[in-house]
């Protein structure tokens, strides 16, 4: 089987500074991958390159064997790549349920049923009719998470889902991520909490200054001299 996602020698610079520099990685189906690295190391920019929000300066991105770099973000999303954002991007003046409905096509009644089901699943069933902008930070993150699930993606990119979310919510979220993996989806997770990464991911990629400096199982990554230097050195 071809990799679900293959990123080949991708480069993206902002004003002469390479935010992502010659990064390659391949994701196999049905696994959870971690993407770690210090602040500013290019994790979010790499997500933006994969999802078409940023144009590549060089390299290519393929999804299920087909090139997707150069496509519009909405086209990439429709092919089955879902994401959440590091800085919350719900639609604040739409209700929680409407936030989920807008990403659906097909019969509306069925979409509403699924939307309510997903909101129940993250314990927001009672708040379905509330404007998303009035929800707490953690609740908005959950709305964003289930909104992404409504698009029925095969590849899921999560940009720091745990940041600012309380313990209980976090455990729910991580549970959900494992279950998605069990259902055959592929997950790429940006996360700072090493405990989370170690517990969940089979393979971890490490970025530093836009370059991939390590790749491997979490145990080996924690012992990697370059990774330790990137985080604690200098």
């Amino acid at each position: 089987m071809p990799p679900v996602l293959s990123v080949e020698r991708v480069r993206k610079s902002f004003g002469g500074v390479a935010a992502v520099n010659d990064v390659s990685l391949a994701l196999e189906p049905g696994r959870i991958y971690g993407l770690i690295g210090p602040n500013g190391s290019g994790k979010t920019t790499l997500f933006n390159c994969i999802t078409g929000i940023e144009r590549l300066d060089a390299g290519r991105v393929s999804f299920r064997g087909e090139r997707i770099d150069g496509l519009k973000p909405w086209q990439i999303a429709r092919r089955g790549i879902g994401r959440t954002f590091q800085i919350i991007r719900v639609f604040p003046e739409l209700t929680a349920l409407e936030n989920l409905l807008v990403v659906t096509r097909g019969a509306r009644a069925e979409a509403e049923r699924r939307g309510r089901e997903l909101l129940e699943f993250v314990r927001l069933g009672d708040l379905a009719g509330e404007y998303a902008g009035n929800l707490s930070y953690g609740q908005q993150k959950l709305v964003e998470f289930v909104r992404m699930l409504m698009t029925e993606p095969t590849l899921i990119l999560l940009d720091e889902p745990a940041a600012g979310v309380n313990r209980t919510l976090l455990n729910d979220l991580l549970d959900a991520v494992s279950r998605l993996r069990d259902a055959g989806k592929t997950v790429l997770l940006v996360e700072h909490d090493m405990k989370v990464v170690m517990g969940l991911c089979e393979t971890v990629f490490v970025l530093d200054h836009g370059e991939k400096i390590a790749e491997g199982p979490p145990g080996a990554i924690q012992a990697d001299a370059r990774v330790i230097e990137a985080y604690f050195g200098r």
């Binding site: 929000i53 909405w74 990403v103 659906t104």
Partner: protein, 302 residues
């Protein structure tokens, strides 16, 4: 609600039988402003892409309708439909380049469009009469035009209702809320904006052609003034942008206020309108219905 709407419509339908000429003309003007403000709301209130040149569709409809009546001898109701079609064609032509621009640039491009159109109309004198204007054969059709304008207002409002309660309408709102997130969730924002712009051009196009027939004479400065755009924007903002009945309320309330103030204090009239704009933007950015909707959790159908 439905009963209330039906009784208002019935009263308005009966009004020309008892109303004065001035009264009929005034209500017909309110219908026109409802159609204009409601149409502007479809693109700008829902997607947040502010059109500062919406009068261009009105002017295009006015000229298309007037030329067809004056030169081709079309009956005016047919010419009115053609005015709507002309405005839609214009919307396609300018929507393709302009809707790729981000919000503020779109606003300015639309302003420019209106100036370009006015210049073109003045230039093609043979067809349009240029700066001398265009006269239509005399005809008193003020009562039939009253009814057609009324139907137009109802159609625009019904269309708003259908859109706002649909997922298509909610998707238009996601563009206003966060266009990047909308795209990342698989929403083709460009074609949604284009569809909204086309729908928002129909009402002004038809209204322009009806107005041309009613007045019997048009010239570039009378159908392309920035003031018409500003007025429809203020009406939609006052009533509540993004709501169904906000533009209706804004059009009726501000038209009546304007008539009263204009009759009594002709010199401070522009000042008052300016004050309303500033007041609404500062104190009530959601407008009357937008405010009520948020505060009392009213459904989107208001």
């Amino acid at each position: 609600m439905a009963a209330a709407i039906l009784s208002v419509l019935a009263a308005l339908a009966a009004y020309p039988v008892v109303g004065t000429g001035y009264g009929v003309r005034s209500v017909q003007q309110i219908f026109m402003w409802i159609a204009l403000a409601g149409s502007w709301n479809l693109i700008s209130g829902l997607t947040g892409y502010v059109s500062f040149g919406h009068v261009a569709f009105f002017g295009a409809g006015a000229y298309a309708g007037a030329i067809l009546v004056a030169s081709a001898g079309w009956p005016w109701p047919l010419a009115a439909l053609a005015g709507g079609a002309a405005a839609v064609v214009l919307a396609v032509v300018i929507g393709y380049p302009c809707l790729r621009l981000k919000g503020p640039y779109f606003a300015i491009a639309m302003l420019g469009l209106n100036e370009v159109l006015r210049a073109l109309v003045s230039y093609f004198e043979g067809l349009t009469g240029g700066g001398n204007g265009l006269s239509l054969p005399t005809l008193d059709a003020s009562v039939p035009i009253y009814y057609v304008m009324g139907v137009l207002a109802v159609v625009v409002t019904a269309m708003s209702w259908l859109i706002v309660t649909s997922r298509f309408g909610l998707r238009l709102m996601t563009i206003r809320e966060d266009e990047v997130a909308a795209e990342a969730m698989g929403i083709d924002t460009f074609h949604h904006k284009l569809a909204a712009l086309l729908l928002s051009a129909v009402g002004p196009g038809v209204a322009g052609a009806l107005m041309a027939r009613d007045q019997g004479y048009i010239e570039p400065i009378s159908v392309f003034p920035l003031a018409i755009t500003v007025t429809m924007i203020v009406m939609a903002l006052f009533g509540g942008k993004g709501t169904v009945f906000g533009p209706v309320l804004g059009a009726a309330a501000l038209f009546v206020a304007q008539e009263i103030v204009w009759a009594r204090y002709p010199y401070v009239h522009p000042l008052l309108f300016g004050a309303i704009i500033v007041g609404v933007v500062l104190l009530m950015p959601r407008g009357v219905l937008g405010l009520l909707q948020q505060r009392y959790r009213l459904p989107r159908t208001i």
